[in-house]
Homo-oligomer: 206 residues x 2
């Protein structure tokens, strides 16, 4: 049984998932957007940030999202931002397929993460990720432009949003340029936690 | 005890509350955005659309929103759109204060709705609405620009969003131009219903 293709992001109430500039990534608003995630035990363990952390529904959701993922796909912009920021033991622990125009040999990290560079477009990258994932799911990891490309191409089966009680005012909007006339959403789950509202939707083509 | 100032809107998952043009108000997307509202018994009774309709949590929320409202404030654009569209027995059944540059005598409708035209700005309009509302709340009814003016002026205590599983792609964004650096949100409630997710937040000044 083939897995699903999904994405999972934290979004501000006004629809932003990241600041305009990568230099703002450590800024106050961005930290607020991800504030629910940082204290979670699974997140901390996975990034080797030390023992401890919160357990509860938020933590379960972080762990479930990790466990369902057999392979990830990401854009070049996200890879560039992470290449020197992720620890040696990168937090994916699965194959990761980077959509790029650059040719490069696979880059193997300790702990099971191998980055594969695919210069043939989004569909071949996804096909390779599906094969690597087996019966687990493929996560379109980001960034926003890559997620939207897959969504508009009709290649996303479902997605999850951790809707944060914060307003950005500017930045990168998750759905900027979405092909709204083509996509219909079916609500799957809406679950409040103390910090965010976890929303998930299945995507149908109209 | 003075009431609170709030707004309550239906918003698409990508942040829109209305189409760009008033002519599109009866369009397919707009209908989808409000789809959760139309079948509710209280909504139908209040607009004299005939007997029957759904009862349940969505209906309770529509009724509670109506019952807490002692007076409404609206912008001229919303008034203009509704002036000939609302029935003789307009659906507010309370005083309504219209923020406008036009001088006009109060316009009394049957069933308790009287429109008062305030040409002195948003604060005097709100002051009059507060007085008229007594210990009930004042609803900033709309449209989007008026809601944002009150929000950015620090005059909104709390708000509710019925988050609809629909993507607009274009239109009027609720939070376009929000003074994000000034406003902090405190989640009050997140409640899924079969059709939408009801979210409410208290507003604090940073």
């Amino acid at each position: 049984m083939a897995g699903k293709v999904f994405f999972s992001v934290s979004m501000s109430l006004d629809g932003f998932i990241a600041p305009e500039s990568l230099e703002d990534l450590m800024g106050k608003q961005w930290m607020e957007l991800q504030q629910w995630l940082f204290p979670q035990r699974f997140f901390r363990e996975n990034l080797a940030l030390g023992a401890g952390g919160e357990e509860g529904r938020d933590n379960d959701i972080v762990r479930e999202t990790f466990e369902r993922t057999g392979a990830s796909v990401m854009g070049k912009r996200m890879f560039d931002a992470g290449e020197h920021a992720w620890p040696e033991d990168a937090p994916f622990h699965t194959p990761v397929f980077v959509v790029t125009h650059e040719r490069r040999d696979p880059w193997e990290r300790s702990g099971g993460t191998t980055f594969h560079f695919v210069d043939a477009g989004i569909e071949p990258a996804l096909a390779q990720a599906r094969e690597a994932a087996g019966d687990r799911d493929v996560r379109i990891a980001g960034g926003g432009a890559t997620i939207l490309e897959y969504l508009n191409a009709g290649l996303v089966d479902e997605f999850s949003i951790a809707l944060s009680p914060v307003l950005f005012g500017s930045g990168i909007r998750l759905f900027e340029g979405v092909d709204a006339g083509r996509l219909a959403l079916v609500p799957v789950c809406a679950e409040p936690s103390p910090r965010v509202t976890h929303l998930s939707y299945a995507v149908r083509q109209r």
